[in-house]
């Protein structure tokens, strides 16, 4: 399963990055969201999968899965949500002000200082 999860994480990175490399603002935003999903799965996989019960001490299990990556991922999920929503609104605003939905339409020229 770890092999499949690693490949899946790599696949999500590929898709996310491919979307980020396009010029379209919406695709860039979606891409960054996909990329963070990939990162979360990668973190979880690297810690080892299903090595014990969920880290809830009330279960009285012998072993638990590693709680630390979960805490990290939880933080990351929330932060990536903050970032996604911010850039989504930024893209929306950019489009409203400039009418541009592609990054190369936003380029200034060298003389515009």
């Amino acid at each position: 399963m770890e092999i499949i999860m690693s490949i899946l994480a790599g696949f999500l990175f590929t898709v996310g990055l491919y979307l980020i490399l396009t010029k379209n603002l919406i695709r860039i935003i979606i891409g960054s969201s996909v990329l963070s999903h990939g990162a979360h799965l990668l973190l979880l996989t690297m810690a080892g999968l299903k090595t014990g019960a969920p880290p809830l001490l009330g279960l009285n299990a012998d072993t638990y899965v590693d709680p630390l990556p979960q805490a990290l991922i939880l933080t990351a999920i929330v932060i990536s949500f903050g970032v996604t929503s911010f850039i989504l609104v930024l893209g929306y605003r950019t489009y409203k002000v400039t009418g541009a939905a592609e990054t190369d339409q936003l380029r200034g020229t060298d003389t515009d200082e």
Binding site: E2, G10, R27, R93
Partner: protein
Amino acid sequence: MFTILHLAIIAPFLAAVLVPLLYKFIPRIHTGWFVLIVPIVLFSYFLTYLPDVSGTGSVIKTFEWIPSLGINYVAYVDGLGLLFALLITGIGALVVLYSIYYLNKHKEQLNNFYTYLMLFMGAMLGLTLSDNLIVLYTFWEITSISSFLLISYWYTKEKSRYGALKSLLITFIGGFALLVGFVLIASVTGTYSIRGILDASDQLAASPLFLPAMLLILLGAFTKSAQFPFHIWLPDAMEAPTPVSAYLHSATMVKAGIYLVARLTPLFAVSAYWFWLVTGFGLLTLIWGSLSAIRQTDLKGILAYSTVSQLGMILSMLGAGAAALHYDSVDNNAYTVAVAAAIFHLINHATYKGSLFMMAGIIDHETGTRDIRRLGGLMTLMPISFTIAVIGSFSMAGLPPFNGFLSKEMFFMSMVEITHFSQYGMGSIGLLLPIVAWTASIFTFVYCMILVFRTFTGKLQEEKLPAKPHEAPFGMLLAPLILVALVVVFGFFPNTLVPAIIEPAMASIMPELAQTGSFGVDIYFWHRFSTELFMTIGVVLLGTIIFLVLQKWSSIYAVFPDNRLFNQTYNRFLEGIERTSYTVISWHMTGLVRDYFIYIFSFTVVLLLFSLFGTGAFAIDTANMVPVTPYEAVLSLVLVGSSLILMFTRSRLKAVISLGVLGYTVALFFVLFRAPDLALTQLTIETVSVTLFLLCFYHFPQIFDALKETKFHAANLVISVAVGLTVTLIGLSASGTRLFPAISDYFLENSYKEAGGNNVVNVILVDFRGFDTLLEILVLGIASLGVYSLIKLRLAGGENK
């Protein structure tokens, strides 16, 4: 320990901080009056060190700066350092005094001027009184920077900016070479302490790095001291206000290179290369500078080239003095006189050149021009300035009874003496040295005469002068008068300097010889009819003839190459660099974010793959892997499917829905992998995100229209696949490798004991790593403020909501 000595060295920096405040809050009093206190106090303070350094004495005070790297701030006062400290503070005090009258407090930005000047003074003190090469180097560069700032003081003038940049670039190139040279030395001797390095000089001499280190350090010294062919920055530096020219570009900063050569003489003097390079370039600069000076029509231009030439002369004497170190004792060691002459001339040059620069500033200030073709006949109008000019110039020309005569005689003596030296492959070529020295002195004599007589005698051309000439105010004359008084005093009583300053400084340059006895320096006017005296008489006679027929000579000058060659080389070099860097930058800095992402990710992939395989970290361990259940297989397929749709879809609704599917699938994975909290969070967040996307879609569908024009891009795919592959490989290696036990056991054990919580993930977030979560909330807060204001903000004009 931090002592008064350290404080004295950094005092100018502290003053530099106070200057703008004084300028702002006490505008009625010229800021210079406050600043003047600093060099005067420091000069008096350093005078108290004179007894300490007499003979071979020195004072060392250590302040540990970065002990772990072995970089200490060791203040080291010996004869040579003290000589420079006195020059820096003494001339500094006079220059500040002069500047008070030179710079108008209503028109000039005094805060800038005095801040830079104090910055320079502190750096120069630090440079000369440091025992550590890294500290020395740091201060060395600060002097370059403050020189840059001072040259461009009148930064609205094109020429000021050009001159400032030129001096900065040339001295920085040398400074970089110097740093490399220092590192080479330290790599051989294992220490950055100058005293330590001098002790280990045998070790360095045997090393193959000896010659490269020497060449690099000489490059640094030559660029700083404006030696041929790097001298071209100094004439352009004359765009600085005259007090700066008098201070930095004649008396102190340009002598930093000389200081370095003197300081490292015991280290390198064993080498014939050192002798030939230092003496050769010194003499070449001497004659080139004096020839160039004659062609100048600007008073400060003459003085600039004259400074170049005199710096060359001092260096050539230090080079010749290297011969003295081939003997074990001071007895019968005729070559020590060259070192004595170098130090004596260094002091003399500071006195007469300082006064001459101030004189040039006075002429400029009172007549409005420095062009000798427009000047003339000022003798009766400006008698005091005339006196200053006569004493300064005659001393520089080497005429008795001034101090310049004495050091010039000693210079001739050492150049004649060095021809008897048997080592360094001297032979017949050695005879060239006194001949070059003598020829250059003739031209020196000529430009000194030009300086005096073209300015002060002849016909007054009042109609050509921008201002009506009159004598300068007394305050302005005071500083140059003190300097010419010193010229005369040192001329008549040179031996007062010998035990106090000259011999201790010689002891620093020739430490081993100093152990064997006194140098016995005795400077006197009457040498009997020796070779030197005849040389001086020859200089005066020939020089006078050349001066008188100079007009006829000027056509011959056109034949010789002049400094334009070097200036053109410099300009072309600069243009070339600008053009090349423009080409390179416009090639890769496209302004497209996509391109920058490609650079970043390509580099990341290369770096990660290199370290993964380069260190042999790649490993797949299937032992502890869990089997795949059908449910997980289905989820994986859903994940792949929804991301493929995201990648290629042209429908806006499909994109939003696929993103939602992707997020929920990830949440389900979290459930399967025993992470209930993650699953809950992911579900909530994903719901909100999808809502947000849909809201955006609802309010502003046009922005999604661009999705329809999606093209497939192969290069992007290659990069993306490479990154994805790297991530997979790292993920595989990481999950199969455990280098040390995870720290998670601590959290599992203590979660209930310490924090009273059974949900370990929650306890980590709110308790063990509570601050992280706090800051995370801050990030979210900032993001939500951004979102809110982006939606609500109305920009002025251009938009109607």
